[in-house]
């Protein structure tokens, strides 16, 4: 059952080695409706990953709270599965066993576990590689394994922390399509952290902009799907891009140079 995700007065303060206090999150407040695809965009070190880790329950907030429906997030759980930026597929388990991991932990019976695993392996196109070792797969295929593992546990919310950042352009585009297909099929709420504005435009319903830990804008992306090159070159898309760049403190000229 999908639930509303709420961030209420969220602060996260870290103490730097020098003793200086750093506000990773600065009074963040917003709500996400069930089934929304939200991209969290911001510069490096401006609190995107911290926000996701707080929602995952891997990082306790200094003040404020995160709620999933009525339930306050107090620790990690299978209702908020996360796909990480780094490779977190278990190298000692076959592809099939990787997808089964969460189901085993949740004590799903054998028959149901096998059926669910087979379904998600097929959904990400890895049925033929079910008995392979992760070391035998490419980087993109390993990301698909991570995605299938997260989907298989039946989370309400999927958290993705720059999951495709280390992949080449073509693999990334292919995985965008796989992810959007799965999202449309399951209607899960997806939080997707990225610093790539084009990626946010391809994927998101909403873009949450973070700068120095503060929520500086909440932009609704009402572009038609699928968002091919033409859609991304449309006036609406260009306006959103300009808004994001302005909030991030980057001029169009700088963005072109980058």
């Amino acid at each position: 059952m999908s639930r509303v995700v709420s961030f209420e007065g969220l602060w996260c303060v870290f103490e730097h080695r020098s003793g200086q206090l750093v506000n990773a999150l600065h009074d963040v407040n917003f709500e996400v409706q069930p089934g929304e695809f939200v991209c969290v965009v911001g510069r490096s070190g401006h609190g995107k990953t911290t926000l996701l880790r707080v929602l995952a329950g891997l990082q306790p907030p200094t003040a404020g709270q995160t709620r999933l429906g009525e339930q306050v997030v107090e620790g990690p759980g299978a209702d908020r599965a996360m796909v990480f930026q780094q490779d977190t597929v278990f190298p000692w388990l076959h592809v099939r066993e990787n997808v089964e991991f969460g189901l085993r932990a949740l004590k799903v019976d054998d028959e149901e576990r096998k059926r669910t695993t087979a379904h998600w392996l097929e959904a990400v196109g890895l049925t033929d590689f079910a008995d392979s070792w992760p070391r035998e797969l490419s980087g993109g295929m390993r990301k698909r394994v991570a995605l299938a593992s997260a989907m298989a546990v039946g989370s309400d919310v999927i958290l993705m922390d720059e999951p495709f950042g280390s992949l080449d352009y073509f693999t990334r585009r292919n995985l965008h399509d796989v992810l959007l297909d799965l999202w449309e099929e399951t209607q899960k709420t997806i939080f997707f952290v990225t610093h790539d504005i084009e990626e946010a435009l391809i994927l998101a319903d909403r873009v949450i902009l973070l700068a120095e830990g503060k929520l500086v804008d909440d932009i609704r992306v009402d572009l038609p799907r699928p968002r091919d090159e033409d859609v991304r070159a449309s006036t609406g898309a260009v306006d959103i891009t300009k808004t994001i760049l302005a909030h991030l403190g980057i001029t169009e000229e700088e963005a072109t140079q980058v």
């Binding site: 329950g57 990690p76 599965a81 996360m82 780094q86 977190t88 000692w92 969460g102 932990a105």
Partner: protein, 360 residues
């Protein structure tokens, strides 16, 4: 790239593999040659150790058989022939064993220092010490059953003791090391203890084990020491292996609904195998030396005791052959056990890059 190019690449790889194999054989040959050169130099008349070290090849050297051809090893008193003839019960060995362990002169008994030393030295001292203190009497050598007068029993007993000690120690070390990840209190209690004992080389602890447990109960002394040593090593290796598992993998398991139990079973246990297996190889290699050392210090039955007896009988013509046979036996045994271990490690780590390089 054409098929001819592919064949060229393959042929080149095969040539490279052959070259490496030949190089490793050459290195081994150079190592063996250097060993014998050093031996010959030490046994020369100009050497200060001339009287202690016989030349490797010659009338009194252990390798005199080789001068008569490789088959010399298998003939008369060659090392292999000697080992084979005395593998089971041997009247000749019985005579030698009894000769090597005569009764102790009573003058040694009332000296407290001698009593301490006696527990380090062997049954002949402890028998009289035990008689004075009312402790259990060890079996006098003359009353040992006949199967003790041959190599086989002693060597099998040593192998069993060391493997048992290593197995107990590995189980204990892994249990403590891995459970300390789930229960930090275990680490808080055990790490200082392990660090304290870990700073002293285990060979220094060996005589103390002989004193504490005595030679009357070799199970406690040999197996106990090997267990203690393996536990310490495996504790450190399992801790380090678990700490080397990337935090991201554990966090990923947590967000997939992983419980402490499932994370232990599916993450820590398989993920630590490569480092733990490497640690076990090191621990077992040390355990052979340690187990035999303790037996040399005074245990009546075991491969170390055989070495002690032949050390006592070093002036006899058979001694060099016997010692060479024992050294060869332990060398071959260590290589065989390590090879078996490698097969198991290859299977357990077939998922890793290291496992792939090992051939799977």
């Amino acid at each position: 790239m054409t098929s001819t190019d592919v064949l060229d690449v393959r042929a080149k790889a095969q040539r490279e593999k052959r070259r490496r194999r030949i190089a490793s054989i050459i290195y081994i040959a150079i190592g063996i040659t250097l060993f014998f050169v050093a031996w010959i130099l030490l046994s020369l008349e100009v050497s200060p150790w001339h009287y202690d070290i016989p030349p490797p090849f010659g009338a009194v050297g252990p390798f005199q058989d080789i001068l008569n051809g490789v088959w010399g090893l298998f003939q008369e008193e060659g090392a292999i022939a000697h080992f084979w003839h005395n593998l089971g019960y041997s009247q000749d060995m019985k005579i030698k064993f009894v000769h090597a362990c005569p009764d102790l002169h009573p003058s040694n008994v009332n000296n407290p220092f001698r009593q301490v030393v006696s527990s380090l030295m062997g049954w002949k001292y402890t028998s009289e010490t035990a008689a004075l203190t009312g402790g259990p009497l060890p079996v006098p050598i003359g009353q040992l059953p006949d199967y003790c007068y041959g190599y086989a029993t002693h060597l099998v007993v040593t192998i069993i003791r060391i493997l048992l000690g290593a197995a107990f120690g590995t189980i204990a070390g892994l249990a403590i090391g891995l459970s300390s990840l789930v229960f930090p209190k275990v680490a808080q209690v055990f790490t200082p203890v392990a660090s304290f004992f870990g700073t002293a080389p285990i060979f220094i602890a060996a005589p103390f084990f002989v004193i504490w447990f005595g030679v009357e109960v070799p199970i406690m002394t040999t197996i106990g020491l090997v267990t203690f040593y393996t536990t310490l090593l495996m504790y450190f290796f399992s801790r380090r292996a678990a700490e080397n598992i990337p935090v991201g993998i554990v966090e990923s398991a947590l967000t997939l609904g992983g419980t402490p139990r499932s994370i232990f079973r599916w993450v820590y246990l398989p993920g630590t195998v490569p480092e733990i297996a490497g640690g076990f190889r090191i621990a077992l290699a040390g355990a052979w030396g340690l187990g035999v050392l303790v037996e040399v210090l005074g245990i009546q039955v075991g491969g170390g005791h055989l070495i002690d007896i032949w050390r006592f009988l070093i002036g006899q013509l058979q001694a060099p052959s016997a010692l060479v046979a024992l050294i060869t036996f332990y060398g071959v045994l260590a290589v065989v056990v390590d090879a078996l271990l490698l097969v198991i490690i290859r299977y357990l780590t077939r998922w890793s890059e290291a496992g792939r390089r090992l051939g799977l």
